[in-house]
Amino acid sequence: MPSAVVTADRIFHALGDPSRRAIFESLARGEAAVKDLTARFDISQPAVSQHLAALKNAGLVYGRREGRCVYYRVQPGGMKPLIDWMAHHRAFWTDRVNRLQRLLDTMDD
């Protein structure tokens, strides 16, 4: 099964959770360590780690180890599968609108 498809699925799952979305948006503004996020969102460290794992699994963030700390940041291009997914919707409507135009040509005024 194509990995892009799996990723789109995981992105929706990952961003479906409000806490994870908040963490993702926060990381989009800049790099942060688990402890920074724990303080920022008032969520327990294990919970933050779990959220980060889901975001990482979806290809949305990645971690960089520095000493005892792991710093997380947004993965460039991580949202691309969603954009590709949108392209399918656009293709659907483009096709249907073409059909609509052909139909209108055959209809009585």
Binding site: A8, D9, P18, R29, W85, R99
Partner: protein, 144 residues
Amino acid sequence: MTDSTASAQTETISLDLDLPHAPEKVWRALTDPALLAEWLLPVFDLQLEPGAAFTFRTQPYPGWDGTVTCRFVEIEPYRTLSYTWGVPFLETVVTFTLTPTASGTHLSLVQSGFKPDQKRESGGARYGWKMMGGKLVDLLARMP
């Protein structure tokens, strides 16, 4: 940040076209079940009333019967037609806007609200996601 921009861009699809047909005729194609079946999808229980529920039917898929559940949001004859467009994991809104022009009608189509559905995520959608597995793109090739 590029990714936040990309996120915002994924929330709407819009198409615009100029049609050499009167708004009344275009409206008919958008609201008559027999005509809808010809260009969009077979439609069931369609009643042009605000809040009324109806469905489109597309090919079934393992774990999904192919029903698109819809509800009218706005109906302004010959001007605006808007309804929700719900599939197992996502609810978007489709809006058609008709503007009379010298040569016919300007038709604008907007599908908005492409973002994770929290409400469903907590319940049914989790199942929805699982059952679709990795076949999302195949599915989307067949339906919006």
